[in-house]
């Protein structure tokens, strides 16, 4: 079998490409991402000449159009890239930990925790700007995920099924409490209406600095647990027989996904389908190899996010559609097509 030929990893799963073909695919994804990064700076709801874009980046001056590039398009491009990476890898970790191909970071209560914390920040503490409630969102996501981890742990160890159920239950309770607060507080209602749509508009790059160290730690953890997660896909007992410690692996993976999803959600609000669809597509392309899934998710998620954001800037000119709305519109039909195809990608 040549490196380019498809090979079958185990009976019943889809044929997956060899490592060379995966590498080529990865290079194509990287090229696409670079192209979208350029497009994201070039395309917007205002027509700005490419020469102005070039000058804005490499010959900065106090020009009104250059400000539009440097102050708005460049930050939202960087924010889209970082948030996309975070949500994509978090989604891949989540699907691996829960052994659920349709899990997204929200299923462990990350979105609900962040959302409730933002509601509290706005409604009870009167915080109005994103920078102010960033830490609330981050802390809310972390606390709720740790709570779900505790609830999902039994004497026999952590159970993915119990964790998912705990996440769904805690999420439902927090959504109810958040709604109650929003309905009695107009300021919270206004803030959450906007935040819940999921957007990368109006987020300065400065917003990223506090969460980047957490993202870096989480990505290192993700790489570290990718091998053990492959072993755990066969079952905890078989993984343990190979020297893997499932409980530790699961905790590290959950810490990583919480940092990534919590940080991403804190910055952009809950963005649907990125953390759900991208790892699913990645698994479809590369098969059940977590390291490859992580690598593909790391590139495909910002591709989806940036492409959706660019689309959202131009389809309703002069207004824009929040990226979270576009990813839902794009993601839902694609995901339906994926799950309906004859050979779904299992875990």
């Amino acid at each position: 079998m040549t490196a380019l030929a498809l090979r079958r990893d185990d009976p019943g799963t889809v044929p997956v490409p060899g490592s060379r073909r995966r590498s080529i695919g990865l290079a194509v994804a990287l090229g696409t991402l670079l192209l979208l990064l350029v497009l994201s700076v070039m395309v917007g709801s205002t027509a700005i000449a490419p020469s102005v874009v070039w000058d804005a980046l490499f010959h900065p001056a106090a020009d009104i159009d250059q400000f539009a590039i440097r102050d708005y398009r460049l930050p939202r491009t960087v924010v889209g890239l970082v948030v996309g990476v975070a949500l994509g890898v978090a989604g891949a970790l989540n699907q691996a930990v829960t052994r659920n191909p349709l899990a997204d970071p929200g299923i462990l209560g990350v979105h609900a925790g962040a959302s409730f914390a933002v509601t509290v920040a706005v409604g009870l503490f009167g915080i109005r700007d994103i920078g102010g409630y960033l830490w609330f969102a981050f802390a809310g996501a972390l606390i709720v995920t740790l709570m779900v981890l505790a609830l999902g742990s039994t004497r026999q160890g952590q159970s993915p099924v119990v964790m998912v159920l705990a996440g769904v239950c805690v999420g439902a309770v927090l959504r109810g409490a958040g709604s109650a607060l929003e309905l009695t507080n107009p300021a919270a209602f206004d803030a959450m209406r906007s935040w819940n749509a999921g957007s990368i508009v109006g987020r300065p790059v400065d917003l990223l600095w506090p969460v980047l160290p957490f993202f870096a730690v989480a990505l290192v953890l993700a790489v570290a647990v990718s091998g053990p997660l492959d072993a755990m896909a066969l079952g905890d007992e078989l993984a343990a027989a190979q020297g893997v410690r499932p409980a530790v692996t699961r905790i590290l993976a959950i810490v990583a996904l919480t940092l990534l999803a919590g940080g991403g959600t804190a910055i952009a609000g809950p963005i649907a389908f990125v953390g759900l669809m991208v790892p699913h597509v990645a698994r479809w392309i590369v098969g059940p190899h977590q390291r490859w899934i992580f690598a593909y998710s790391l590139l495909l998620a910002p591709i989806l996010l940036l492409a959706s954001d660019i689309l959202g800037r131009v389809v309703m000119h002069p207004s824009e559609i929040p990226v979270g709305v576009v990813t839902a519109f794009v993601g839902a039909p694609v995901l339906i097509a994926l799950v309906r195809r004859s050979k779904a990608s299992g875990l």
Partner: protein, 322 residues
């Protein structure tokens, strides 16, 4: 038997006397109160000519108080709305009984206990439909939808609440102020393209709007200043959120008006716009032709007059800077 009849007659007599005493005030009031008919969005309604216990729901509260009315029951207004009205009006508002946070949250028992002789309501049609029967069963009710023109609304409200004296004075001041502005800035009004921008607490981060509703309607419709407006049949421009990168598009207008508070500072929601480099680079901003204008409200004459004072003061700065 005779004793029983006598006792029965005595009881009936006492009951009649007591019922006459107890009903004296109400019955006498009902029979002697003069009425008149007022037409509102819910039809022509017979109301007391001089109502003494008025309840206001939704957007009727502050306009009625502005014209000199003193409702006995009100629905809440926002803290920011309350902060914009004069102290005396604030005291009148606070003296009234709060009946709920909004038109669809009215405490009907509390409302009935106030024994109002007139209920005035302005709120979305769908919300009024839910409470209309209950309100009608308590007191004559006049309702206006949200799309009623503000001067028509003020006139009808004044007539219904019997505060037409207050209204007349305000109308005269309004007419005089409009004429003064038109006369003083005739050339400027004729030759200048204005744009009014705004941003609200509910606006998405990183967005603003070219606002064509609110106080700017008075500058446009009554004074004759030229502002961008939506095409016929289209949604108001202000409903469209524009990303900050489109601030640069304001360069094509001669003068920009934007919202400020009573002290002349940009309103809290609008402050992020003023802080952008794009805003600071606008020709109008750099040449002092970006005018902060205070708009405390646009549905009764009192706040509109304060808006016109602010606009007048802002326009007065233009010739010296040009």
């Amino acid at each position: 038997m005779t004793t029983t009849r006598l006792l029965t007659a005595a009881l009936l007599g006492a009951a009649l006397v007591l019922s006459a005493c107890g009903g004296d005030g109400d019955d006498a009031g009902e029979t002697t109160v003069a009425t008149r008919t007022v037409t509102a969005d819910n039809g022509t309604v017979e109301v007391p000519a001089d109502p003494q216990r008025v309840v206001t729901i939704g957007n009727t509260t502050l306009p009625l108080i502005d014209m000199g009315g003193a409702p006995v029951g009100v629905t809440d207004v926002t803290a920011s709305e309350l902060s914009l009205i004069p102290e005396q009006q604030k005291a009148t508002f606070q003296a009234a009984t709060s009946l709920g946070s909004s038109g669809d949250q009215v405490d009907m028992e509390k409302l009935a206990a106030l024994k109002p002789d007139l209920i005035l309501a302005q709120l979305p049609d769908s919300e009024f439909e839910q409470i209309a029967k209950q309100l009608d069963s308590i007191a004559p009710t006049l309702f206006w939808g949200l799309d009623v023109e503000w001067k028509t609304f003020a006139g009808a409200l004044a007539e219904a609440g019997n505060v037409t004296d207050g209204l007349s004075g305000q109308q005269a001041a309004f007419t005089a102020k409009i004429a003064t502005i038109q006369q003083t800035y005739a050339t400027l009004i004729k030759d200048t393209s204005f744009v009014n921008v705004d941003r609200w607490a509910s606006s998405d981060p990183g967005t603003f709007s070219i606002a064509d509703f609110g106080c700017v309607e008075i500058a446009q419709g009554d004074i004759g200043m030229t502002f961008p407006e939506a095409a016929a049949g289209a949604d108001p421009l202000g409903w469209t959120s524009l990303p900050f990168e489109q601030i640069a598009g304001l360069s094509k207008y001669d003068v920009i008006t934007y919202p400020v508070d009573a002290a002349g500072r940009p309103t809290e929601p609008f402050a992020p716009v003023v802080a952008t480099n794009t805003w600071k680079a606008l020709p109008a901003v750099q040449s002092g032709r970006a005018l902060g204008v205070f708009c405390p409200g646009n549905n009764s004459y009192g706040p509109v007059l304060r808006y016109l004072d602010s606009l007048d003061a802002a326009l007065a700065t233009l010739p010296a800077k040009e």
